[in-house]
Amino acid sequence: MAEVASSSPHRHWRKPPWIQNRWLRWGMVLGALVYLALAIGSVSVDSARIARGLERGGRMIAAFLQPDFVSRWDDIQIGVLESLTMTVVSTIAGVLLSVPIGLGAARNIAPTPIYLICRGIITVSRTFQEVVIAIVFVVMFGFGPLAGVCTLAFATIGFLAKLLAEDIEEIDPAPLEAIRATGAGWLKTITYAVMPQVSARLVGLSVYRFDINLRESAIVGIVGAGGIGSTLQATFNRYDYDVASAILIIIITLVMLTELISAQIRKRLQ
C-alpha cells in the first residue's frame, strides 16, 4: 500500500470505451458522420415549395379540426365496411393457410423439400411490403376488395407462419418422441404432441395479426385493392381535408378499439 502510494499518489480512472480499438472506434464514428452528411446532403429541399406548403398545412390543420363526416358519408361507410370485412376474411384465411405452412417450415418436423418451399413462401411474404403484394393481386383479380383480401392473407402467412414455425422448433421434444413411440402417424403426432404446445400462442398471435391487418387494410386501397384507402387518397387529391380528417379519426378509433379488445383477449389467454 505504501509503495503504491509513493510511486503513484493518484490512480486515474476513465470509463473504458465501448470499442477498445481506438482506430476502429474513431473509424466508426467518422464513417457514421460521413454517411449522415451524405444522406442529409442528398435530401433535396425545395424551400419555396415548403413555404407554399406550410400555408396549405395551416389550412389543412384548420380542416382537420373540423372533420366532415357528412358530405361523403356513403363513400366512407362503404370503405370502412370493406376494410373491416377484408380484415376479418383475410385474417381467417391467413390463419388457416399459416398453420400448414408453419408446420412445413419447422425444421424438426418437416422433410427438407417441404421445409424449403414453406420457408421460401414466408421469406417472399415478409420481404415485400403489403402494397407491393397488392399490386400483383390487383393485376390478377382486378380492382376491388378481393385483391386486398388475398394481399392481407398472404402477408399474414409471413408473420404468423414464421412465428409458428419458430415456436414449433422450440417445443419440448420429449412428448414428440413419446407420441411417436405409441405408433401414431404424422398427423396424430402433430395433433397430440405439437399443437397442444403452441396453440395458445397461435391464437394470441392471430388476434394480434387482426390488429395489423386492420391497419394495413387502410392502405392497400391506394393501389386499388379495396378498403378505406382509396377513399382517403381521393379526398387528398380533391383537397377535401375535412373529409380526410373524418376518415383518419375513424381509422384511429377503429384501430384503438380493436387493439383494446385484442389486448383483453390476449390477456385472458395467458
Partner: protein, 265 residues
C-alpha cells in the same frame, strides 16, 4: 445523533406499518432491528431517508429535522446517510467503479456524472474502498459478473464513499450463504467502527445480530417491544417479538444455527 419521535406510517391501503415508534441512536452505535416480516423494519429505515414518506412523527439527524426538509435539502441530507440493500440494488449493467462512484452523485453536477468525470479525490477514495473491501481486481468488471458476496461489497463501498454519518442497512445477508453473511456483517461492523458511524441494521437472523451488535431493538406490528443488549434476548423476549405461535420455531432455530455457523467457518 438520530432521534425518531412518534413515527407513524400508514400506507394508502390502510395498513399501518409503524404505530408511533420512538428511538434514539447515539454516535457510533451499531444497532440491529429485528422482528418478523411485516413488522415494519424496512419501512422504518426507509422513513429515515424518506424513501418512504412518514405519515406523522419527527426524525432528527443531529440538528436537522429530516421530516421538515424540502426536496433539495432532503437530497443534501441523503448524502450523509448511506444505505445498503438486501438484493444489493446495484445497477447491473454498470461497472463496479461506476456503481461505487454513483455514491458520489449527490456531490457532483449532472454533466460531471453523465460524462463520468468525477473529481480525482473521489476516484482515489473509490480505489481505497475497493482495496478495503477486497475488490481491487474488479474495477471495470460489470456488476452482473460478480457473486452475491462481491456484489454486497460493492454495495457497501457505494454507501461508504458518500462519507456518511449514518448507515442504514436493510437485510444485508438475506440473499447470502451463512459464511458470506458473517463476512459481510463483520465488514460492515468493522468499517462502522473505523469511521465512527452510527448504523441501523435490519436483520432477521437473530443469532447473527447477537454476534455483531451492541444493541438490539425488536419490532412487532409497527411497535417497539424490545430495546436492550443482545444477551437480554431471553426466550420470553423473543416470543414477545415473534409471537407465541412462532416461538417454537425460533427456539429450535437458535441452537441449530450456532453449530452450523461454526462448522462453516
Amino acid at each position: 445523533m438520530l432521534r425518531i419521535e412518534q413515527l407513524v406510517k400508514r400506507y394508502p391501503t390502510g395498513d399501518a406499518a409503524l404505530r408511533g415508534v420512538s428511538l434514539t441512536v447515539s454516535e457510533g452505535q451499531v444497532m440491529a432491528l429485528i422482528g418478523p416480516s411485516g413488522a415494519g423494519k424496512s419501512t422504518l429505515i426507509r422513513c429515515v431517508n424518506r424513501l418512504v414518506e412518514p405519515t406523522s412523527g419527527k426524525i432528527w439527524l443531529r440538528d436537522t429535522e429530516i421530516t421538515a426538509l424540502n426536496q433539495r435539502q432532503l437530497r443534501r441530507i441523503r448524502r450523509r446517510i448511506g444505505m445498503i440493500f438486501q438484493e444489493y440494488a446495484l445497477v447491473e449493467r454498470l461497472s463496479v467503479m461506476e456503481n461505487i462512484l454513483s455514491g458520489r452523485l449527490g456531490y457532483v453536477n449532472f454533466w460531471q456524472s453523465w460524462f463520468r468525470r468525477f473529481p480525482q479525490s473521489d476516484i482515489d477514495q473509490a480505489f481505497n474502498l475497493l482495496e478495503r473491501v477486497g475488490l481491487s481486481d474488479f474495477v471495470d468488471k460489470r456488476a452482473d459478473e460478480l457473486s452475491g458476496g462481491q456484489r454486497q461489497r460493492v454495495g457497501i463501498a457505494r454507501a461508504l464513499i458518500q462519507s456518511p454519518d449514518l448507515l442504514l442497512v436493510d437485510e444485508p445477508t438475506a440473499s447470502l450463504d451463512p459464511k458470506t453473511s458473517r463476512q459481510i456483517m463483520r465488514l460492515i461492523t468493522e468499517l462502522a467502527r473505523e469511521r465512527g458511524l452510527a448504523v441501523i441494521i435490519n436483520i432477521h437472523d437473530v443469532p447473527l445480530a447477537q454476534m455483531f451488535v451492541q444493541r438490539i431493538v425488536g419490532l412487532r406490528a409497527g411497535e417497539i417491544v424490545y430495546d436492550g443488549p443482545p444477551d437480554g434476548l431471553t426466550p420470553e423476549r423473543l416470543s414477545d417479538i415473534y409471537g407465541a405461535e412462532d416461538w417454537g420455531a425460533s427456539q429450535t432455530a437458535v441452537p441449530e444455527q450456532e453449530p452450523l455457523l461454526t462448522a462453516q467457518e
